[in-house]
């Protein structure tokens, strides 16, 4: 069971980093207290993981065959990749790291399902694009519904607060539902734990990351998003949540960070076409390649080392 440590570590890192995309705006702008935000995130990540987390695990399971040792190595390599890329301030995604590792394991073993791999790669590309389209549409629709209809600052303020609160809870739910497979998914296919145990352990690890280490990232990301208006920030978070939830139904774990970047651009597009930041898009593109490539190489290296040693 000690091999599960790498999955737990991966989940912990995921929670520490990705909670920022959910409640970051609310916490940085002072709408929600950090303590309340992390407790709610930890709870709803677990709920989301438990209720809908198995879909992503099925996808990873179909991607290739893994045994207990390769599951451990894949998970460990993904965690190392994330640490290294974060150290160099490169764009990184847990979903993309673990897929790179699984591909390496697959190539060294029983092969890769090209159909599933295509589905996964397509989902990565569609995440920021989908988030941009969804948040653009949400902005237009809610803008049309609300424009001129709210007469009081007090009502507006209350609506925004409740909105941030609900979007945060929904975001935590979708994070758990979508990303839990990244933490413990490979161990299910290896037959080490049951899917139920995997979603609970994965959900708890992500929750632990949120509770213990998310403050700094949350404030940094949150402050960047709160440079927008309250309404735009709320729509961006909601756009991200819906996108991640859609990909949960598709069964592919995706990057919440790339979803929020796409969502922010979508909101920005309502006002100006200049909102499309090519540098940010370039960073996402680099992430699609560099993260799985790095985890692929690290997994291969660890697998070779393992075969030499044992």
């Amino acid at each position: 069971m000690f091999r599960l440590i790498s999955g737990v570590y991966l989940g912990w890192g995921l929670g520490a980093n990705d909670a920022a995309n959910i409640f970051g705006t609310g916490v940085a702008s002072g709408v929600i207290k950090y303590r309340t935000a992390v407790i709610l995130t930890a709870i709803f990540v677990l709920v989301g993981a438990y209720l809908e987390g198995s879909r992503g695990m099925e996808t990873y399971g179909k991607l290739t065959d893994v045994d207990i040792n390769s599951a451990f190595i894949a998970s460990l390599a993904a965690a190392i990749t994330i640490n290294i890329l974060t150290m160099f301030a490169l764009p990184v995604s847990t979903s993309q790291a673990i897929v790179g590792s699984i591909i390496a394991v697959g190539l060294m073993g029983g092969g890769i399902s090209s159909k599933i791999l295509t589905k996964v790669l397509l989902s990565w590309v569609l995440t920021p694009i989908g988030a941009a389209v969804i948040s653009y549409t949400l902005y237009r629709v809610f803008g049309w519904l609300l424009e001129g209809r709210i007469k009081s600052v007090r009502v507006w303020s209350l609506m925004m607060k409740v909105g941030f609160f609900c979007a945060g809870i929904y975001g935590a739910y979708t994070l758990g539902a979508n990303n839990v497979a990244n933490s413990t998914g490979v161990f299910v296919k290896a037959g080490m734990i049951t899917p139920t145990a995997a979603v609970i352990i994965g959900g708890l690890s992500i929750g632990l990351g949120v509770l213990t280490f998310s403050r700094r990232v949350m404030m940094t990301i949150g402050r960047k998003i709160t440079e927008m208006s309250d309404f735009a920030a709320l729509i961006a978070v909601l756009g991200q949540d819906i996108t991640v939830h859609i990909f949960t139904w598709v069964g592919v774990p995706v990057s919440t960070s790339q979803a929020i970047v796409g969502a922010v651009m979508g909101v920005g597009l309502v006002k100006s076409s200049k909102a499309v930041n090519l540098k940010v898009i370039g960073n996402i593109g680099i992430g699609w390649i560099s993260t799985p490539a790095a985890s692929f190489v690290i997994t291969l290296a660890l697998l070779m080392l393992y075969s030499v040693l044992f």
Partner: protein, 217 residues
Amino acid sequence: MPLFIHKKEKHIVELIKKHADQVVETVGLIRQAIDLYLDGDKEESKKYTKMAHKAEEKADIIEREVDKEMFEGAFMPSIREVLYVALDFVDKVANRAEKTGDFLTLIHPVIPDEIREDVKKMGALTYECAEKLRDCVYHLFEDVKKVYEDSVKVEFLEGEVDKYAWKVMETIFEKLDIKKFSERMMLREMVIHISSMSNKMEDASDKIDIISLKMRL
């Protein structure tokens, strides 16, 4: 939590409206004090100035209460921040009014007949301007679309007060034969005091307008 916030914010809104009422009352009392002074009833004018002092004090107490309650987390932080500033600017109107009354009561400037009516007109327009500022505050919580119209009216009335101030200054320095320079300067100071009230009102309405802009999508 939303229900708790709802009740708290509702109370704060009532306090903010009450504060605006109190500021208008202070300006109204000073307007009366100016009129009485110009009519030669200095004792009655002094009474009104003292009443304005009390009204201003009440406004201060309400402002402190609003500050305290807002600090506990009412409204969206982005709105709370500007609301603090706007409330402070509205309060400054009462402070200016109080100082205008003090000037008349303590300095006793000699008012030539030629400027009496124009100074009275300045007082009347200033009060009208204060009423529009109150509408501005009320509409922030009742019909935010009207805030812009109100602030345009405040700006217009401030301009009108300035026109009269200019006219009075011209009379003091170019038309009247006032021997003592100190008397001219005292009259000048009085005009500046009166017009400073509407200047502050314009500043306050600008801040309130920013809050309404924050609600634009």
